[in-house]
């Protein structure tokens, strides 16, 4: 049975009529058209569908929409309006951290989740923070470098 569920997405409050157990990823993509959220595995393993919920990195394929009503949700579409995104974007470009791009929005949000709680992480902390996001193209090191670069150059933003 569908229900009216209040959601705070990318700074806007919305009410949508959906089944309470609908996966958040499907709500974001089908009902709200936020296609930056990618589905890679559907079982919380690859991180391509990761979004920020109350600042934490969560795989949206594992979340029933009702469980996050009223929580602050950010997808790449909202996050890309920020200065922090601009800094990460620039560093991902200069480190060559983007290849096929399918994992990238999730990686960017993983970087934000890390830097917002630890603005000056060590390399090992960066590896831990993105270990739930799989990338098959880069071998990860260029992504790790990008995040460390963002922390060095733009640590003040976090």
């Amino acid at each position: 049975m569908d229900k009216m569920i209040p959601l705070k997405i990318n700074g806007n409050t919305k009410k949508i009529m959906v089944h309470p157990s609908k996966r958040l990823i499907d709500v974001l993509r089908d009902d709200l058209g936020l296609m930056g959220v990618k589905e890679g595995c559907g079982e919380g393993e690859c991180g391509a569908c990761a979004v920020l919920i109350e600042g934490k990195l969560i795989n949206s394929c594992l979340v029933a929409v009702e469980s996050i009503k009223n929580a602050e949700i950010y997808t790449i579409e909202g996050y890309k309006m920020t200065k922090r995104y601009a800094m990460l974007d620039e560093c991902f470009a200069s480190a060559g951290a983007v290849q096929c791009g399918f994992c990238t929005p999730g990686m960017i949000l993983a970087a934000e989740a890390l830097l917002s709680s630890n603005a000056m992480p060590t390399e090992s902390e960066v590896r831990d923070a993105i270990s739930g996001n799989l990338c098959r193209c880069t071998g990860y090191n260029m992504i790790v470098e990008a995040i460390l670069m963002a922390s060095r150059k733009g640590g003040y933003l976090w």
Binding site: M35, K38, Q99, C100, I108, L134, Y140
Partner: protein, 713 residues
């Protein structure tokens, strides 16, 4: 300008990938779009006696082999693979029929209610069973998709006069591409024309498959690449099958139809790297020099032929790697089994051969009491030497210099010695692999089969568009080809555009495979650019077309494997250092160093991306990437079960490029993408051997296998 081409620039497709706005196939929606799912065989091998359908609600449809207007055979190389099974199935996951309709849930519900009555037949599930002839063959009389043999020198004499003969058997497993974007297609049917959008590497392969399935004229089929979220060979042949399914559903319903594989389906039914059994037998003279080698390679091709014959050819041509073996006998078979078809994967048969060869060379050296690197150096080819197939290494071979570099970077030899005497239960080890990769299609393929054509279109405003059928699947083609054109024309890079290929607009420049896109297609674009520059008229529309020209080579005899299999080769050396726990068998990476000769890098940062991703994929192949088929069923159907490396499994990789420009490559560039994967597994596994002091004959070396080797000695 040409000096500076290697200097990295911001990738031209960076922005829209990072902000999530670029559209992959799953992100595309069309008015009235329907969803299609596939009913697949649950038996390894069976006759289909009957299919019982539930009542099909209005708006929903079932599509089977009777709905195919043309030939019910997937166009690949050999005509053996039905698009939809008719009266028999040959592997678990083989498509039988399609259900299409407006609601995906309902489509899945209908699929669940379909009951297929099978009459099971004895399946062939292993390479051994495929060969022994006890069960009815799946393919022709001998179950053999391809069987080749070639000879160089006098192998009989080499073995007769040998001082010592060393024989070993090696085994390699499946590897799953694990691109992060699962496969998908959208089909359309409008005014008698079939169109598909899809995540794919080879638009014209898909087009050819659709022309055969619909028995229509070429201009009635259009294929458009959607931004592709990784491929690695996995989207070379399989998308043709998906495209036929999506297009058939669109043809029957006259509506756009989306076909997406979920991860489980993708892992169960799409192609994988061929598992292999490899026997290496080597004759040595009194001085410990190799005088001859006999190599026998068997590949598990799965239920249908697909690309197995070409993968087999690559395996065989690479059988002796970078070594000059005067007398040689190489033979191999790709065999049919009732398991999921195997296919293209970055390296295309070479990773199997190089794993076995490099391990074998290491083991021989140890038996002779020599340092492996010295033994390898003694046998390495130099410029002018003959290739395994009596072709010629016609360009400079810089291996000695590359080894010198990697030694400096890694202290390989010093560590190799030191690690031979350790007593703790966390043992370090270091290993090295030396390898090559032929650039471009095998033999005369470029000249006789592909016949690549490229086009440049200049508009009134001076914008130049690249029209080729090669795709960017993450490897950076949308930046590197633009660099070649803009640098040659001496115009700003933002004046060059390169959109995802659409077969209605682009000529056939061939598939995005075999390390050919940059070297072969890039060279054609360079030539077209030179001509355009020479004839440039400001403010006018102009077009420039360029066709492939074959370099002067020793003619390739495909039947006897004689001649130049490739115009040139790229080279690589990997050194890997590990720490192995003798208690748990766990293997931790400690260091990775590499030196590559890819001619001249068109963009150093993009090449670095290829190197790092390729090496890690190779290391995964050698360690954690374990996949098996039991009773004809893939056991690892999720990324939870099939483990690929994460950011925590890798360490910084130090890499160096050695310049060695190739005259027939754009700005001296050669192939690179496949090369970077090949050396990962042997470098890693030789490092594990150095740590534990035991010989290994199998990849991947999972902790379980490492413990097995440790306890069995």
């Amino acid at each position: 300008m040409s000096q500076g081409i290697s200097t990295a620039i911001k990738k031209l497709d960076h922005q829209f990938k990072t902000d999530g706005s670029i559209e992959y196939i799953a992100d595309l929606k069309f008015d009235g779009m329907l969803y299609v799912k596939t009913l697949r065989s649950i038996k390894q091998r069976a006759f289909i006696k009957n299919i019982n359908l539930p009542p099909i609600p209005e708006g929903y449809d079932v599509i089977d082999h009777n709905d195919i207007p043309g030939k019910n055979i997937l166009k690949v190389i050999v005509d053996d693979n039905p698009i939809l099974a008719k009266d028999q199935v040959n592997y678990i996951g083989e498509p039988i029929l399609l259900v299409v309709g407006p609601k995906l849930d309902k489509v899945l519900e209908i699929l669940e209610q379909i009951n297929v009555i099978y009459e099971e037949r004895a399946p062939i599930l292993t390479i051994e069973k495929a060969e022994d002839g006890e069960v009815d063959p799946i393919y022709k009389n001998d179950n053999c998709f391809a069987s080749y043999q070639y000879i160089k020198g006098d192998i009989q004499k080499a073995f007769n006069e040998a001082n010592e003969i060393i024989e070993e058997t090696f085994e390699t497993g499946y590897q799953e591409h694990a691109y992060i974007e699962p496969q998908g297609m959208i089909g359309f049917y409008d005014e008698d024309k079939v169109t598909v959008y899809g995540s794919l590497q080879c638009p014209y392969y898909v087009k050819d498959a659709l022309v055969q399935a619909f028995d229509c004229k070429e201009d009635k089929v259009r294929v458009v690449q959607a931004t592709t979220g990784g491929a690695f060979g996995g989207k070379e042949d399989y998308p043709s099958l998906l495209a036929c399914h999506a297009a058939l559903a669109a043809y029957k319903t006259k509506k756009p139809v989306k076909l997406l594989l979920d991860r489980k389906e993708d892992m169960e039914v799409t192609t994988k790297r061929h598992p292999a059994q490899l026997v290496y037998k080597t004759a040595l003279d009194k001085e410990g020099h190799i005088t001859g080698m006999a190599v026998n390679i068997k590949l598990n091709g799965g239920a249908y032929a697909g690309l197995s014959s070409v993968v087999m050819q690559r395996s065989l041509i690479c059988a002796t790697g970078v070594y000059n073996i005067p007398n040689l006998k190489v033979e191999g078979k790709a065999l049919a089994t009732n398991t999921v078809p195997t296919g293209a994967f970055r390296g295309f048969g070479a990773p199997q051969s190089f794993f076995a060869l490099e391990m074998h060379m290491e083991h021989i050296a140890k038996q002779l009491g020599m340092a492996p690197v010295d033994f390898k150096k003694q046998h390495m080819v130099t410029m002018g030497d003959k290739t395994s197939t009596n072709g010629s290494f016609r360009d400079p071979v810089l291996l000695p210099k590359m080894i010198e570099e990697v030694e400096k970077m890694s202290q390989y030899s010093q560590k190799y010695k030191a690690y031979q005497m350790q007593s703790s239960n966390k043992k370090k080890g270091i290993g090295m692999s030396v390898f090559l990769h032929g650039c471009g299609f095998t033999g005369s393929g470029e000249r006789d089969h592909i016949k690549a054509t490229v086009k440049l279109k200049k508009y009134f405003n001076g914008i130049v568009e690249i029209l080729v059928s090669n795709v960017d699947m993450g490897q950076g083609l949308q930046t590197t080809l633009n660099k070649i054109v803009s640098t040659t024309l001496n115009i700003p890079i933002d004046k060059v555009i390169f959109s995802n290929p659409d077969t209605d607009r682009v000529p056939n420049s061939g598939p995005t495979v075999a390390s050919r896109s940059l070297m072969i297609v890039g060279k054609l674009l360079e030539r077209a650019s030179i001509k355009l520059k020479e004839t440039w008229i400001e403010g006018q529309k102009q077009e420039m077309t360029e066709h492939y020209q074959h370099p002067e080579l020793i003619p390739w005899d495909e039947k006897n494997f004689q001649g130049d299999a490739y115009p040139t080769y790229s080279w690589g050396i990997n050194v890997v250092e590990v720490a192995v726990s003798t208690l748990t068998g766990e293997i931790d990476l400690v260091g990775v160093w590499s030196v590559f000769d890819v001619g001249n890098a068109i963009d150093e940062r993009i090449i670095r991306g290829q190197i790092e991703g390729g090496i890690l994929q190779g290391i995964g192949y050698g360690s954690m990437e374990f996949m098996e088929s039991q009773n004809g069923m893939i056991q690892q159907k999720s990324i939870t079960d099939y483990i690929i490396p994460t950011a925590k499994d890798v360490v910084p990789i130090e890499s160096k490029l050695i310049k060695n420009p190739y005259q027939d490559g754009p700005f001296g560039a050669k192939g690179a993408g496949e090369l970077t994967l090949i050396g990962g597994a042997p470098a890693l596994v030789t490092a594990i051997e150095n740590a534990i002091g035991q010989s290994i004959h199998k990849t991947p070396v999972t902790p379980e296998h490492a413990l097995e080797v440790l306890s069995n000695g």
